[in-house]
Amino acid sequence: MGDLVITKMSKKFQHQITANDSSSNPPFQLRSADLKIHEGEFFGIIGPSGCGKTTLLKCIAGLISPDKGEIFLGKENVTHVLPEKRQFSMVFQQPLLFPHMKVIDNVAFGLKMQGINKKMRWNKAKDMLQSVGLSGYEYRHPSELSGGQQQRVSLARALLMNPKVLFLDEPFSALDPDLREEMRELVKLLHQKLKVTVLLVTHDREEAFQLADRLAIMDEGKVLQIDSPKLCYEKPVNVQVAKFLGSKNVIEGEVSDGIFRGKHLEIAYTNYAFSENKGWIIIRPELLKRIHSEIISREEGIFNFTGRITEVSYRSGFVHYKVNVHGQTLYVIESNQSDLPEVNEQVTLQLNMKKVHFIPQMGS
């Protein structure tokens, strides 16, 4: 089958005025997207709502015609192949099961379209329902299932087709947190078992990080970065990626003579290797460590801040707090092992500058 390669794909939507609504939708443009998804890979496209990730997915699936660009599956150019001939499957945000069909008929729908006889398609559907943990539910109607079960049926329907690529378009966003977690586990397991190429679209960072081997970060119709989740998080290529992936401490400034100078903060910064000296340093909240003033380290590359806590919140074993350091707010996350810090408490924070990431202005 081979890799799924998308080259220079773009799509422009003009102002659209709907019949029942005189208000117009703003124009939207998917800008020249290039992706290479390896065979058997779990690839995630992540970005804020409205960034164009579903449009990109539907262009790849053939449900929307792109204005430009090509899609290759292995050596085959599938750009102009009808969606029903591409052998792709998709699980949508809603289960979208056909209400008049029993669960087994919903699962076997694709095989029916291929003209496979009822006995064979029912047998295959039963096996697939077993794989998603829904044995015994074959003859129920979709309305007799819970939301999570319906989404499992939708997943079974998609997998039964033995698709060349499985698209997941925010498939768990309508489920409650427990079910979402359960479904993620199931999808991960089935991906490992069936070795199918998966393309997941989501705005949920946690979901993308948990499932994807590699990520493409999108914003405003543009692919900003493609890397492993770890690299995307630790080495974002620009400020939008950093902010979207949860970097709270993005400080603008300038590096000169081994010192980073922000509006409120000056930090010794020597591992600098860019020609541009203006930019942002990204301090991930978990890099900041609260220490007792008597054990302050004077090692090279270790920087100490003293500031006052302005806000504290406790979240499932972790404590999040904001520290004002000479007018600069730093966001800190640490595992809570003792008493919670208190607002107005003076603290000393330690930062290993080697782990701080710098984004030069021209690269952003």
Partner: protein, 299 residues
Amino acid sequence: MSMLQKGNPYLYVLPAVLFILIFFFGGLFQGLLQSFGITPYNKDLVFTTLAYQELLQSADFWQSLLLTFRVSFLSTMLSGLLGILFAFILFIMALKGYDSNTASLFYRIFQYPLVIPHLAAGYLFLLLLMQSGWISRIGYHFGWVEEIHHFPILVNDTFGWGMILTYTWKEAPFITLMIYPVLFRIHKSWYEVARLYGSNTRKFISNIAVPLILPAWLSSLFIVFAFTFSAFEIPYLLGVTYPRLLPVYSFELFTHGGWMERSQSLALNIILAFITAILGGLSYKISKRWLLNERRGWE
């Protein structure tokens, strides 16, 4: 008074219930009694099934029943097919992303026959289709027919084409109106799902859309059949003198016949009401069973 203060719901609906009891069931009951020869105000209290016997033995009745069935059946089938066809044209236009303003304009045009009364529709078709009518004259003007009496007889014809065409024109929009909202509820995303799993538009319509609208379509067919079977105006205007459709036959018996015929007329009405009730019950049963399945999981 205390019942009113407590807000007894039965008391509030009592006027409406009394109205229906007196004027609908009362009339029906009186008709039933008279069809069995019982007219209390005439001190005629002997129960007899003579009117029914004579009616069932009369060739006129069977001819009339046959014609009524034929006209109703063909009108229902034609309007059913035309109605569903039009609803699907609108649906496909929406599915393929055609301009929704054009679709809604078509929908509105198709709804216009609904506001025309049946009597007016009858006249309209009479003026249009009779041999000295508009179409015939236009045909003559353009040289399509040599003489206007060469134009085919389409109204007051023995087969009933005039009635069938008028009913089709009137009832097809009703069928569309009944099924289009059901079609409109079909997600566009279902079409996307179906396409990804190998279905084209034709397969999507036959596998998904048709099964979903079938209950609404069947119920509307039953309604149209029951209506055309017992309606009076159009057959009165566009029918022939013999055989007449059952409602006209009953009217003529009632107004032009003697006392005995009046009982026959009422017996005929009771038979009409009985057939309509059976059709109504059948329609309810079928749609109830189907709708239960169809409604599952719509949301």
